[in-house]
C-alpha cells in the first residue's frame, strides 16, 4: 500500500539528467514531443530510438522501473499495432492472419506508430522520473513568468500547485481511511453494477469534502495570520540556475534535431 502513496514516479538517483535544470528538461522534452512526428523512415526512427534509449540510460534508473511506468500503456500500444495491421492496405500481401490479409505496408505503419508512441511515452516519463513535482512547479512558474504582463496569475497558480502537491498524500490517506470505514459499514465499492459502484462514492465524498474544506480554511487562516500578501517581494527557498551542463545538453539536443532532419526521407 505504501508504494501507491508515492506521488508521481520520481526515482531519486545521482545522474546528470537528475541534475539538469528542470526548465532545460521541460523545454527539451516539449520539443521532442513535436519533432518525433517528423520521423518518417527507418534511419530517422532509429536515430530517435538511439537518443531516447541513450537519455534513459543516462538517468541511471533501472530499466525495470522504466518499464513499470509504461505498464498502463502496453495495452494501447499493442491495440494500436493490431488495428493498423488489419486496417491498413498498402504494399503486398504478406500473409493471412485469422482470415485477414496482412500487407507489408500495414506491418511497417503499425510498427512505426507503435514505436513513435513508445518513444513519446518513454521520453516524457523521463521528466517525471528524474524531476520532483516541486521542481516541476518551480520550473513552470519561471517559464510562465512573461505571462504576468497580461495579468495571468502565474505566482498564485504555482503556489496553488505546491499546496496541492503537499495535500495529495494526506488526502489519499484520508480517502483510503474513509473508504475502509465505509466498507466496514457495508458500502460496496468493488462489486456490483458500475452505476451502483459510482453511487457508493457519495458516503465517501461527503466526509472527504468536509475534511478537505476544513483543512483549506485552517491553512488560509494560518497564511493570513502570518501576513501572506501574494507574490510581490517574496523570496524563494529554491533558486533555479542554468549552468554549463544545461548548455551542453541543449547543444547535444540540437545535434539530435539536426540529425533527424538530415536522416528523414
Amino acid at each position: 500500500m505504501a508504494s501507491s502513496l508515492i506521488i508521481g514516479q520520481y526515482v531519486p538517483a545521482d545522474s546528470v539528467v537528475h541534475r539538469l535544470d528542470p526548465r532545460t528538461k521541460i523545454m527539451m522534452i516539449f520539443t521532442f514531443v513535436i519533432i518525433v512526428f517528423f520521423a518518417n523512415n527507418a534511419p530517422s526512427y532509429l536515430w530517435l530510438t538511439v537518443f531516447s534509449l541513450g537519455a534513459a540510460t543516462l538517468t541511471k534508473i533501472k530499466p525495470r522501473f522504466l518499464l513499470k511506468g509504461l505498464k498502463p500503456v502496453w495495452f494501447l500500444i499493442v491495440f494500436t499495432f493490431l488495428l493498423h495491421l488489419f486496417v491498413t492496405r498498402e504494399g503486398d500481401v504478406l500473409t493471412t492472419l485469422l482470415g485477414f490479409p496482412v500487407y507489408t505496408g500495414a506491418l511497417i505503419q503499425g510498427f512505426q506508430i507503435s514505436l513513435r508512441f513508445f518513444l513519446l511515452i518513454l521520453v516524457t516519463s523521463l521528466l517525471t522520473l528524474t524531476t520532483t513535482p516541486i521542481e516541476i512547479t518551480d520550473a513552470i512558474e519561471t517559464l510562465l513568468h512573461p505571462l504576468k504582463k497580461i495579468k495571468f496569475p502565474v505566482h498564485e497558480l504555482a503556489l496553488m500547485m505546491s499546496i496541492s502537491l503537499r495535500f495529495i498524500p494526506t488526502l489519499m490517506q484520508e480517502t483510503e481511511k474513509i473508504s475502509k470505514a465505509q466498507a466496514s459499514r457495508g458500502v460496496d465499492f468493488k462489486t456490483g453494477p458500475l452505476k451502483e459502484r459510482i453511487q457508493a462514492v457519495v458516503p465517501l465524498l461527503v466526509p472527504l469534502f468536509v475534511s478537505a474544506f476544513k483543512r483549506a480554511e485552517e491553512l488560509a487562516m494560518a497564511m493570513e495570520a502570518r501576513g501572506y500578501r501574494g507574490g510581490e517581494g517574496r523570496t524563494r527557498l529554491r533558486e533555479l540556475a542554468i549552468v554549463s551542463r544545461d548548455y551542453i545538453a541543449f547543444c547535444l539536443f540540437f545535434i539530435v534535431i539536426a540529425g533527424l532532419f538530415v536522416l528523414r526521407g
Binding site: S4, I113, F117, I121, P153, V202, A216
Partner: protein, 163 residues
C-alpha cells in the same frame, strides 16, 4: 488576484481530485476516460471560483499520466474550454439543475479534443475514438450530476468558497 481563501480551497480541491483518481479508480488512464473525479467539473456550476482547482487537478493528474506531456495539453485544454463555455452560459442560465445538464453535454461534446489527441498520437480512427471517449465522459458526468446536486445540499459549495 485570487484571495487567499479561494486560492487554498482550489488547491485542496485539486489535491482531492488527484487523491481520488489515484486511490479510487485504477481505470483512470485507459483510452476510455473513466475518472470518478471528473464529476468535480460540476463544481463550477455552483461557483465559477472552482475553475482553477478543477483545472489544476486535471493538470497534475495528467502530469503523471503515462500519456505524458501530450495528455497535459489536450486534457487541460479540454477542461479549460468546457469550463469556460459553462461560465459563459452561467451568466444567462441560473437554474442549477439545468446547468448540471448543460455541463454534462458540454463535456461530452468537447471530448472531440481528447479523440483528436488519440488520433494524432496513435492514428486511431477519429469518430470511433470520439464515440467511445464521449460515452465514457457522458457516463461519469451524468452519474456525477445528481451526486454533486445531493452533495451541494449538505455542503453548499457556493457558500464555502465565496463567503
Amino acid at each position: 488576484m485570487l484571495k487567499t481563501k479561494s486560492l487554498v480551497t482550489n488547491a485542496v480541491i485539486a489535491a482531492l481530485y488527484i487523491a481520488i483518481s489515484l486511490v479510487l479508480e485504477p481505470l483512470s488512464f485507459m483510452s476510455v476516460q473513466f475518472r470518478v473525479p471528473e464529476m468535480f467539473n460540476h463544481l463550477v456550476v455552483f461557483s465559477p471560483r472552482y475553475f482553477f482547482g478543477v483545472v489544476m487537478g486535471v493538470f497534475i493528474t495528467n502530469l503523471f499520466s503515462p500519456l505524458g506531456i501530450y495528455d497535459l495539453f489536450f486534457g487541460v485544454g479540454h477542461s479549460i474550454i468546457s469550463l469556460g463555455l459553462l461560465i459563459l452560459i452561467r451568466r444567462s442560465v441560473k437554474n442549477i439543475k439545468a446547468l448540471l445538464v448543460i455541463n454534462t453535454l458540454i463535456f461530452t461534446a468537447t471530448m472531440f479534443i481528447i479523440a483528436f489527441e488519440l488520433y494524432l498520437a496513435l492514428e486511431l480512427p477519429f469518430w470511433l475514438t470520439y464515440l467511445t471517449t464521449a460515452l465514457g465522459e457522458f457516463g461519469v458526468m451524468a452519474i456525477g450530476a445528481p451526486i454533486m446536486y445531493t452533495l451541494n445540499k449538505s455542503l453548499n459549495f457556493k457558500k464555502i468558497i465565496e463567503q
